[in-house]
Symmetry: C2
Subunit: 516 residues, 2 copies
C-alpha cells in the first residue's frame, strides 16, 4: 500500500466531489488513512519512550537542555533546520521544514517540551520517568503490560502509555514528527511552510516567551499559529479551540476594630468585618451567579453564529452536574460554553479569624476574600479590577492601601483594601470563521468526516498562555488539542491513549497538507 502524494493526493481526488474541491481551491490537500497513520505512529514509539525518559521539570535547566538536544536531533534527522533560542539557560527549540515556498502560507506549530513537577510516590508505576504501557482490566483498573508489542505487533487503540509529559505535551511533538515521516514516506511536500517552536517553560507560565519571540521575530514570522496543547473535548471528537480566558486575581480585605475583640463585650457594638465582607460580596453577584458589578459583562459580544456553534458542542451537562454534585448551575450563560464567554468573579478563598478547633469568641479584626477574575479578550484585568473597585466605593467603603491608619479609622466607618493584578496570562481569541478557522475545520473534516462534527470551542474557560504566544506575531491562531481528556494532565499517572496518538498524526498531517 502506497501513501498518496500529500500535495496531490490521488485517492482524495477520487473520493471528494469535484464541486467541493473547486469551491475551496484545495486540490492539493490530502488526508492520511488511519492504517498509514498507525504505521508511522508505531515507527516513532521507541523515540517517544526515549523522550519520556528525560525528566523535564523547567526548574531544572540541565534537564531541559537534555530534552532540547534530544529533540533537536529528532528534528534534524527528519531534515529540519533547527536553532536553539536562548532563554536563561532553558533554550526553546525552533525547527523549520525544508523547501519553504513564499507562495504558500506559513504555519507556526507551537508545543512545549517541559512538564509539570512530579511526586513519584503518587504514581502507580516505578517512575514517572520510566514510561510503561497499560491496559484497562475488566474491573476498570489500569494494568501494566509488556510494552514489546507496542514497537512491532498489532496495536490496541485503548492501550495507554503512562509517564510524565506523555500527553502534556511530548505526545503531540512526537505526533508531528510521525506526520512528517508519513509526509516524507509519501514523497510529498506540505501545502504550508512548516515552522515549529517548542516552549521550554510553559508549565511555569512561559514568563519570557514574548521576549524570546520578539528576539526572533523574523525567524518565527508566519500566517497562523497552531497550538497543540491541552485535552480534546471529553467525547474525544476532533476539537478546535479559538480562545481562552485569561487569569487575574484580586484581594479584598474589610477591616473592623484594631484587634480582635471579646465577642461578649463587643458583639452588637463593634462592627463585624466578616459580616461586612459577606454583605459586600453579596452585592457583587445575584442569586443566579451573575455578576452585578456595573458594566462587568458589558463588553462581551456574542453573535448568533457563535451561539449556534456553542450550542452544538456535545457537552453532557446532566452528566457534568452529576459528576460535580450540583443540582443547578449558575446561570451566566444558556449553557456551559456560553458561560465561559463571560469574565468571572470567583471567590477562591475567604477567611476571617478561625474556624474549627481554633475558633474563639471574638469579633474578628478583619476579613479577607481572595478572588480570581477570568478575563476575556475585551475585558482585561484593569477593566474588571477598576469596575469592582468602583463598586466597593459605591457601597460606602473608603479604600486604603495596606492597613488603615488611626486617622483612617477615626474618619471612615467602612474601611477596606482592594488590589488586583493580571496573573500574566491574558485572554486570547481568534474568530471561529476566519480563514484560519475554516482551514483547520476543513483539514479535520476532510480527515475525520462531519458525522459527528468536530467540536468547536469559541473560548475555553481555563487559561493557557495563548496570548503570550501570539502577542508578538499578531497572527490568527487555533488551539488544536490532540490528547484524550482523561489524561491526568499535571497530576500523577499522566497518560496518552494510543488511539489518540494515531488520530493526532492524522490531524497534524492534514494541517500540513491543507493550504489556505
Amino acid at each position: 500500500m502506497s501513501i498518496p502524494s500529500p500535495r496531490f493526493p490521488r485517492r482524495l481526488i477520487a473520493l471528494v466531489p469535484a464541486a467541493f474541491l473547486l469551491g475551496h481551491g484545495l486540490a492539493q490537500s490530502a488526508e492520511l488513512s488511519s492504517a498509514l497513520a498507525e504505521r508511522h505512529a508505531q515507527g516513532t514509539y521507541r523515540e517517544y519512550f526515549e523522550l519520556l525518559a528525560l525528566p523535564n521539570d523547567a526548574t531544572v535547566p540541565e534537564d531541559i537542555r537534555k530534552n532540547v538536544d534530544w529533540l533537536e536531533q529528532a528534528f534534524r534527522k527528519r531534515g529540519f533546520t533547527t536553532k536553539q533560542l536562548p532563554n536563561s539557560g532553558k533554550p526553546m527549540l525552533y525547527a523549520e521544514f525544508p523547501g519553504s515556498d513564499p507562495a504558500r502560507k506559513t504555519v507556526l506549530f507551537y508545543m512545549h517540551l517541559d512538564g509539570q513537577p512530579v511526586i513519584p510516590a503518587q504514581w502507580a508505576q516505578k517512575s514517572p520517568w520510566t514510561p510503561v504501557l497499560k491496559r484497562k482490566t475488566d474491573k476498570g483498573e489500569w494494568e501494566e503490560i509488556d510494552s514489546a508489542p507496542l514497537f512491532s505487533g498489532p496495536l490496541d487503540p485503548e492501550w495507554r502509555v503512562f509517564g510524565r509529559a506523555s500527553a502534556d505535551d511530548k505526545g503531540p511533538i512526537m505526533m508531528l514528527l510521525a506526520a512528517i515521516d508519513a509526509l516524507k514516506a509519501g514523497g510529498g511536500q506540505p501545502a504550508v511552510n512548516v515552522k515549529v517552536i517548542l516552549d521550554s517553560e510553559e508549565e511555569k507560565g512561559s514568563p519570557s516567551i514574548s521576549q524570546v519571540m520578539q528576539a526572533h521575530r523574523e525567524l518565527l514570522r508566519s500566517d497562523a499559529i497552531v497550538i497543540h496543547d491541552g485535552p480534546m473535548h471529553a467525547t474525544n471528537r476532533p476539537t478546535l479551540v479559538f480562545g481562552n480566558r485569561g487569569a487575574a486575581d484580586a484581594r479584598l480585605t474589610v477591616y473592623g476594630a484594631k484587634v480582635p475583640l471579646h465577642s461578649g463585650h463587643y458583639g452588637n457594638y463593634a462592627p463585624n468585618p466578616a459580616q461586612r465582607l459577606a454583605s459586600l460580596l453579596a452585592t457583587m453577584k445575584d442569586d443566579t451567579g451573575r455578576v452585578t458589578v456595573a458594566g462587568y459583562y458589558d463588553r462581551v459580544k456574542i453573535g448568533e453564529a457563535d451561539r449556534k456553534i456553542m450550542a452544538a458542542v456535545p457537552d453532557d451537562e446532566a452528566a457534568l452536574k452529576r459528576r460535580l454534585g450540583i443540582a443547578r448551575t449558575d446561570r451566566v450563560g444558556a449553557n456551559y460554553q456560553e458561560a465561559m464567554q463571560y469574565p468571572s468573579l470567583n471567590v477562591r478563598g475567604m477567611a476571617s479569624a478561625a474556624v474549627g478547633d481554633k475558633v474563639a469568641n471574638i469579633v474578628p479584626d478583619k476579613a479577607e476574600a481572595e478572588m480570581d477574575l477570568r478575563t476575556t479578550p475585551d475585558s482585561d484585568a484593569p477593566y474588571l479590577g477598576k469596575l469592582i473597585e468602583a463598586h466597593i466605593v459605591k457601597q460606602g467603603y473608603h479604600l486604603v492601601k495596606g492597613t488603615p491608619t488611626d486617622d483612617d479609622r477615626a474618619r471612615y466607618d467602612k474601611l477596606a483594601s482592594f488590589s488586583y493584578r493580571s496573573e500574566g496570562a491574558d485572554a486570547a481569541g481568534s474568530p471561529i470563521n476566519s480563514p484560519i478557522g475554516q482551514w483547520a475545520y476543513k483539514a479535520l473534516t476532510d480527515t475525520f468526516g462531519t458525522t459527528p462534527e468536530p467540536v468547536r470551542i469559541r473560548m475555553m474557560g481555563g487559561t493557557v498562555p495563548t496570548a503570550e504566544i501570539v502577542r508578538v506575531l499578531k497572527v490568527p491562531f487555533a488551539i488544536i488539542p490532540l490528547v484524550n481528556a482523561d489524561n491526568n494532565q499535571h497530576a500523577a499517572n499522566e497518560n496518552l491513549r494510543m488511539g489518540n496518538y494515531v488520530t493526532g498524526v492524522q490531524t497534524v498531517y492534514a494541517l500540513m497538507t491543507h493550504g489556505f
Copy 2:
C-alpha cells in the same frame, strides 16, 4: 478610733437624714471608714501573699485542695463553720458565719478560689506564684518595689500586687475576710446571715456547680446571692451588675460541588459556596449591624427606668471608639449598655478554601461560618438557633446533617448544614429595682455616697456562670465586682490595685451590715 457597731452604727445615724432611715427601715446599717478598712485590709496582706503563692489551676486537683485547706483554716480562725463540698477531687469550700438568726435575711457570697493557667515566661516577675508589689514609674511602667511597707508602713492606694489570681478571684475572698475582721473588731454582728461558697472550677466554666449546689441545697439556702467576681466599671466607681448574657455557638456550612473545581473551567458555572455563604450572611444583618432574622429581638423588653439607668452609665464611648479604632458602632442600641441587652449574632470565624500563600485558583467546595450567639434571659440558645435555622430555610436552603449525600446534591440547589448549642453558660438577669438591687445600692451609696452614683449595669455583654450559680437556689442576685478594670484578668501580669482592696473591704462590710 473605734469602729461603730455594725448593727447599730451611731455615726451613720448621726450623718444620715432621719427621713432616709425611716423610709428604708435600715437603721441597723453601717459603713466602714476608709481608714479602718485600710487597717483591716493591711492586717490580711500576709495571708493574701500566702494564698497567692498557692498555684490554683483547676486542672491540678492537688493544688486546688491546698487552696481549699488553706482557705478553710482562714475562715475557721475567724469563727466560721466550714465544710468542703466534694467535687471530683476538687472540693468547693462552704463557710458560714456564726450566730445565724432566722429573723434576718441570708446572703450567700460567691467567689472562686481557682485561677486561669499561667505562661510564666510572659510575666514580668520571677513567678506568677510569687506575688510582688509594684508601683508605676513616671514613665508609666510597672516597677517592682520592696513589699515590706505593705505589711506595716503607710500604704499607697496606687500600688499593685501582681500575681495569678491577685484580682480574679483571691483578692475579693481576702477582702471578705478583712471585712469580717473589721466586723469582729467592732464587736458587732452582721445585719444578714453570712454564708460563703468558694467555687473550685470557675475558670473551667463551673461544669458541675449545679450538681454540687443541688447536693447541698439546704446548707446553701439563702435569700440572695452576691457574686464578687469580674472587674468594676472602667471609671473604678462602685459597680453593680444585675445580669449577663449567655453564650451559645452555631456553625453554618454552605456546600458547593463535591470537590474544589478548576476556577477557569468552572468559574461562572459551578455555584460558589463562599459567595453563597456571603449572600446568606448578608440577609441576617442590616447595614447598621442589627439582626434581620425575624423575631430575633422580639423578646427583649426594656423599660423606661432601665433605659435611664443604662444612659447613666458613664461609658466614654468616644474614647472607646478611639481605643477600638472604629469610626462608628453598630446601632443595635442607643448606647453601649443598651446594645448589650440584645442577643447577638456574631460571625466569630469564617473560612472557605485558603487565602494568602496557599490560595489556589479553585471554586471552593464549601464555606463555613462560625457564629457565637450571646443569649439573654428571654432569648436562649434554642430560641435563637431555631429562628436562624428557619431564616436559612426561608432563603431557599435545604438543610442537611453533616455532608450532603449524592441524592441531596441531585435534588437541592442550595445545601447547607446548621447546628447550634448552648456553651453551657446561660444568660441571667435580676431586676435592678428588686429589694436585693435596692439593698446593694443602698449599701454602696451609704458607704461611698451618690456623687458620683454607683454604676448600675442591667446586663453585661460577656458571659459568666451566674445562671449556673443561681439556678438551684432560685433567688435574686447581684454581681458586685471589686477589682480594678485594668487587672489583666486571665492574662499575664494580673494585678490588684491596693486602693481597690480597701474599697472592697468597705463594700463587703456594708453588704454584711445592711439588712433587707
